[in-house]
Subunit: 907 residues, 2 copies
């Protein structure tokens, strides 16, 4: 059978049959652009006639050593004849000459492929004929010089600079600023000069034969498939090299043929708000380039209604038809030539997050798309947008960018710089100032300042540094690890190169992009209560099978989480309660005393605080499960830093050596003694690798009194709220387990204490006991763990650290950056679960634990719980829920629904 290498736009059905009726196959055969032009033609949208040379022709051409295969060229000529018949014009004729454009068009749009050549078919004789018909020599000569220039650069590979230089010289000579203001004579001379350039740089005469022009353009498209830029792009984007590109040859139409001509672009709906009205711009008597270039003010599409009412109606009808056909909002290019409307292109339109949501919901309401489709058309990032203030697009224009760091907690924040937590709090609370708190890095005792600030900025630390975790937890915009910034807390300055920013200066940070700007940028506050979003998330809840819980330590967090749709608390970190100002001294006493009695007293003193905290959480989460994790961090985190202490001590000693006043000496001596004692204790608790040290369950085993106190607080609180009529579901979670015996031991302590409290209170509280899975050994032995654990929760931050042997804080500001930029790792495993390693352990843990206890509740409470890709993976594993920060709950609801839809078995 003779291969069909060329399809007219009106032969789309034949192409469809050839590939077996599959739209993806049609795009593969004709390229995306060719398929779309054919599709528009099929549904009766007016498209300038044309045809597509197939990708198969391209592949055959390249395989044959750059020779057209078989009768390909004859098929092209035949297709050209068909266009001539349709348009009544003749290619190369001096009577009524046909001009065409030639464009590449692969299955996927791809930079590096050959661009457009317009006006093919012009030569010295043809232009005379056209000038005669149009009476517009300026337009015609300009069209010709464009053809030579485009042909020269695009087909013959001549750099654009010599052409532009010629034009610049003429503009200078004439004292004009645009090419439009050059005279016809100028353009005539330019055409000659351009032909010279072609001769000089490409060693050939510019081909006067229109067929030769078309043939060379076609070959150039084919060859560009194997160009270096295209190959590199395909390698990077993982696109196969054997797809080939199509070539689209199409009749030229002109919007600049007088006042009955026009050109424009339009969206089928409002791309900013999503409202269902045409939106766009056009110009009477102009070319497409003019609309984009902005040298003439454009008109809104609505005015076309009065200028050309019939055309407007036709366009509106076509827009509706295209939207219905593609079942998506369309972004269209059109040209009106002598009162005749032509569509040149249509594609899915880009839109804001708000518009995406509204369009998806409204299209579902009108029955155009299904709920499933609506859910997959909004990206989780677009939901996230609703949760944080944003800089308007305009506000960044001209703003002074100081630095870029890691975008760890999204949203925009504007405020004055404060270098300490205390100052941040004072300014914010007492003076009502908006504050950006800046630190080299943050520590637990900075939290009060972070809470008071609008946003957080650090010069070191990674995606899961303390600053990042706290910021995400509280929905504070944050940029961390902005290493270009030199933050000098003592001097109260932040230096970037030579520029100094001082305490009190205004800065704006964009946690969505990681940018840091000088000054006050304008912000917009989207609305999470957006009714369209609310409906979309309700649909998400219908489809998703994964539960969405939240990580929350305080009742206020829990309230927000519930408002955003959380179905439980997956992680309450009890130690956060220990850091609060009135409690920290008690905690420090507990740690530093050598007397068991005093330690016991300190532990007991913490009980009422913890009980009240838990009672508050339980009240908010009435009817829903609350997972409380027992104390996790190493004890030294509650004490002053070693370096701070040694520096202070050194300073004190210097002062002491200079002191002359006896009273001063006495005071200094006391201070030295106190600090030395503290230093001793801090030293004793120091660890070479605290991440792998005495923390988590190890603390609980070394200090069973602490476990008992926490369990007592949980159960006393549970009894208290039960009496108030609250439905309480506590789940007690042991962190950092690596061996089943740890769990067994802690369970014994828990059961004894829980039983004791319940007997004292005369109440029976249903509860669950479980553990984090955040150490490889815990995952590997999850079947053993399941003997004692009624639930498991993946702590994927730590699990990633230990599975990779990577300290996240060190790595994310260190070698991990190189690893990602050099593509040694495909993605940051602390942002998205490493399915090949960490994920394998998770899968083993799920399978092993369920083999022992089929109804075991398995969830995830690491940072990954809010990451859409990771959520999809959790859905594959069949977890019961993901738990993330309250601000990620809506995102997770959508991502979970998308995962469920994507992974649903085909009907």
């Amino acid at each position: 059978m003779n291969t069909k290498w060329v399809y007219g736009f009106d032969e789309i059905e034949e192409a469809e049959r050839y590939v077996g009726g599959d739209w993806d196959g049609v795009r593969g055969l004709l390229g995306g652009k060719g398929a779309n032009l054919g599709e528009m033609t099929r549904i009766g949208v007016p498209v300038p006639p044309g045809f597509t040379v197939t990708t198969e022709a391209c592949n055959a051409y390249l395989e044959a050593g750059e020779e057209f295969s078989g009768d390909m060229w004859e098929q092209v000529l035949q297709a050209l004849k068909a266009i001539e018949a349709k348009s009544g014009k003749t290619f190369g004729s001096i009577e009524n000459p046909l001009l065409v454009s030639c464009r590449s068009g692969a299955k996927f749009s791809m930079p590096g492929m050959m661009d457009t050549v317009l006006n093919i078919g012009l030569n010295g004789q043809v232009i005379d004929a056209i000038i005669e018909r149009s009476g517009d020599p300026h337009f015609v000569y300009d069209s010709f010089r464009r053809l030579i220039q485009m042909f020269g650069s695009v087909v013959l590979g001549i750099r654009d600079e010599p052409f532009e230089e010629v034009l610049a010289n003429y503009r200078e000579q004439r004292g004009v600023s645009t090419d439009t203001d050059l005279t016809v004579e100028d353009l005539k001379e330019i055409v000659l000069k351009f032909k010279d350039l072609v001769r000089r740089y490409a060693n050939i005469d510019f081909p006067a034969d229109p067929y030769e022009q078309l043939r060379m353009a076609t070959e150039a498209v084919f060859k560009s498939w194997n160009g270096k830029r295209a190959r590199d792009y395909r390698n990077a984007a993982h696109i196969a090299h054997d797809l080939g590109t199509g070539v689209n040859v199409q009749t030229m139409v002109f919007g600049n043929m007088g006042d009955d001509s026009a050109t424009g672009v339009a969206m089928s709906r409002n791309a900013t708000t999503g409202e269902d009205t045409l939106e766009g711009d056009f110009l009477i008597n102009a070319q497409g380039e003019d609309v984009v270039a902005g040298n003439r003010p454009t008109e809104p599409i609505s005015t076309l209604k009065s200028a050309m009412p019939a055309i407007y109606d036709e366009f509106e009808t076509i827009a509706g038809k295209l939207e219905n056909h593609y079942r998506e909002m369309q972004d269209m290019e059109f040209t009106i030539e002598h009162g005749k409307l032509w569509l040149l292109q249509t594609r899915d339109g880009k839109r804001t997050a708000q518009a995406a949501v509204r369009i998806a919901v409204e299209m579902t309401d009108t029955g155009l798309i299904s709920k499933e489709e609506a859910l997959t058309r909004v990206s989780p990032d677009q939901v996230d947008f609703f949760l944080h203030p944003q800089f308007s697009g305009e506000s960044k224009r001209g703003a002074e960018l100081l630095a870029k760091g890691l975008n760890v907690s999204p949203g925009a924040a504007v405020g004055v710089l404060a270098f300490t937590a205390d100052l941040a709090e004072r300014w914010a609370k007492d003076e009502g100032r908006a504050v950006i708190m800046v630190r080299p890095e943050t520590k637990p005792d900075d939290v009060h300042g972070m809470l008071a600030a609008e946003g957080i900025l650090t010069s070191s630390g990674g995606r899961t540094s303390h600053a990042a975790l706290v910021a995400r937890q509280f929905g504070k915009p944050a940029v961390v690890g902005a290493s270009e910034l030199e933050v000098d807390v003592a001097a109260r300055t932040m230096t970037i190169d030579d520029q100094e920013v001082h305490e009190g200066d205004w800065v704006s940070i964009d946690g969505t992009t990681g940018e840091v700007f000088l000054g006050q940028l304008e912000t917009l506050v989207p609305n999470i209560q957006d009714p369209y979003l609310m409906r979309l998330l309700e649909w998400a809840d219908e489809f998703r099978t994964l539960g969405v819980w939240a990580n929350a330590d305080y009742p206020a967090d829990a309230e927000r989480a519930r408002a955003y749709g959380a179905e439980g608390i997956g992680l309450c970190r009890t130690e956060h309660m220990f850091f609060e100002q009135e409690r920290l001294p008690i905690v420090q006493r507990m740690i530093t005393t050598k007397s068991t009695g005093e330690q016991r007293e300190a532990v007991d003193a913490l009980l009422p605080f913890q009980r009240a905290d838990f009672a508050g959480l339980f009240r908010v989460m009435d009817g829903l499960p609350v997972i409380i994790r027992l104390i996790d961090p190493p004890l030294h985190e509650f004490l002053p830093g070693y370096e701070e202490l040694t520096h202070d001590l050194a300073d004190l000693k210097i002062r002491l050596s200079h002191a002359t006043d006896l009273k001063e000496v006495d005071e200094l001596l006391t201070q030295v003694t106190d600090e030395s004692t503290m230093l001793d204790r801090v030293e004793a608790l120091r660890e070479a690798n605290p991440m792998l040290g005495t923390r988590g369950v190890r603390l609980g085993i070394l200090m069973p009194a602490l476990t008992r106190m926490q369990v007592r607080a949980i159960f006393e609180a549970a009894c208290e709220v039960t009496r108030e009529g609250i439905d309480v579901h506590p789940e007690v979670m042991i962190p950092l387990t690596s061996h089943v015996n740890e769990l067994k031991r802690q369970r014994e302590v828990l059961e004894a204490e829980a039983q004791a409290v319940m007997e004292e209170q005369g109440l029976d509280i249903a509860y669950k006991f479980g553990t984090m899975i955040e150490i490889p050994r815990a995952a590997l032995t999850a079947d053993e763990m399941a003997e004692y654990a009624e639930f498991l929760s993946f702590g994927t931050n730590d699990l990633t650290q230990t599975t990779f042997g990577i300290s996240r804080d060190d790595a994310e500001s260190g070698f991990l950056i190189d690893y990602l930029s050099e593509e040694i790792l495909p993605s940051n495993p602390f942002a998205t679960i490493d399915t090949g390693g960490v994920g394998m352990l998770m899968q083993m843990a799920v399978e092993k634990s369920r083999s022992k206890r089929p109804d075991i509740e398995v969830g995830i409470c690491g940072e990954h719980g809010g990451d859409p890709d990771s959520i999809a993976f959790c859905n594959t594993l069949g977890l019961n829920y993901v738990s993330c920060s309250p601000f990620r709950v809506p995102v997770a609801r959508l991502a979970a629904a998308q995962a469920a839809i994507a992974q649903a078995p085909a009907d």
Copy 2:
């Protein structure tokens, strides 16, 4: 069928039939002691007649609520009748009374079980009869008071103190020092007083009825099975609680019946040297207790030959018979009563390491046992004994124990204390003094002192601390983590409680036990060239399937390893070469410079050093593989410590603030500047968790010039020695890989550089490329790794750290101690591979990598490679080799043979 509860010693065959012919079953039924007495009886060894009440009777008694089951007691009485018939004596008779002993005897010997009651059958009437017959009232009354005392304490649970008090009072009154010197009258009174004590403490009369005595003793044995001490012991030793204990009732014989009576103990071979001659002690006219008590000087067994030649011959024959029967050296107790020899007990004899080896080899030579048996009879620890000086048993007697620490590197060392590496080296090298180097902990720049010292002592650090690793590597005895010691380097004192030990004082440390003594203790040096050991290890090589390689960084280590039988180098740590004094400044320059050129120069300057090191290793290992690991530790390890620097800097600043002399100020300022610069660099390289930081392959990827230099050094060295006629097999190993892309990248660098060197040199070197598996992710993705790796080597130290999430240095002096003492972990996972977690990863790695590359070479080079239990596990996994420190090579050879024998499929 009527249950048989009681077996006469002469009914062993019936017992054997009952349990199905299985010796283990016989021991289960009769207990170890009963089975042995029956066995001796069967083979014709003269054993005083007796019988065993079965363990089943014990279980039935306990289940029935402490009631004898069925006709058990009737069977006992019948068995007693049988003894009476054999001995011609009658139990409880006043004519010719039979006395018996009653002993417990479970399957496994077990502390906490009821001890022996002797002389059962005595009462007021019976003793009169015996006195009449023997004419020795002193002996008889003494026997009687012993019965009452033993019965009181053992059967009735009365504390021994009141009995001893009575005896003490009499001795005092009589002014004598031993009970033997009390008069018959005294003993008569004591018997009465003892009976009073029984009445007072147990509220019963001492039973005069011999049958009642026997019944109560039997019940006491049964009950003791469930006593707290026995239960605790069984829990700890993992012995089942349902085994029960047997009761052995046996005719009393007396070695103190005159000069034709005697008693003694003897070994069938010399327990110290292993020589094949009887060894033992005896006493004429004495009781067993007297031999042990040492209040009369014993005679060597050889003198029995002249004293009682016929008996000696008989005994010698019996000893040979027993050895042949049990196929093991025997430890025997015997009594001669009126010229008649009786064997009371036989069991396998304890022996020294040397004796164990010689006996095993000689028994094989005479055909008594097979080579396999010989190999399993010597423990790997016994081989280790040959490799290190030891304290003689006597030397520790009376020595002053200062402290106990971790026994991390075996052997004895004696020397004077030195608190710094420099001093240790100076004293050892310049003054020829034996030195024990003591530090709070050691660092890489202490190594020259450690090498010069006889032994190493630290107050902190764990089983895999720097001190422990280096010590084991070089076979230096070491005790680390002796936390009772307060080591004050500045004051040059080591304090324990109130005792101060100063620099230069003599101390002795035992790395085999972890003990630290004051003063100079005597040491013995065993001989590794022991001909018996050599033969045993040759046999080991015949049986083992695992290769035994060694970890060695220097040619001297490699030589030792080869001498000890290593078949390759499994790990050469190239960074150890970087720490040497002349090289360290170059390394520091490489790290601290900001100029790429200067860095390149420093790297190049290291090349000749490394090349020479590798060439040396290759020469020693002619014909065998050498695995060279590229640089592993984080760079800051090569720089001065952060704290040291900050302290120095603080001191300098204080001195500066006091300085008045201008020149001094200038000098101090320069120093401050230099140290500040170094501090900046050290600070930049600091990591929160260096174990999980920028080290291993991560360094190689960040500094490819370093990788290239190391590869060049390896291949230039390989070419150099090839020209000398050496057969070289280099294998290049990448450390700390977690993702296959790291390996892929490093392999590219390696191949390019190796190719370049081989082309320059015009030689082709066969080599292998591979990686450590020391990160969980590497194990999980070993199939991917196997695409690029031709060998894998488990770094189980790090793999254990990351799999457990435990920092070994912190943990081994911290919570791990509690975890082990509280049995949360069954054993230290850094000493023996945790098969349940780490081992699971290893197994996955082996299976996955072999699925991709069936001939991949897989070994282990972590500390576990020298641990017998871990070696057995590696054998199960089917590894190709284990690699350990040279000093563990002989141990590993034996352990590997034992593993192969134990795991060999049954015929």
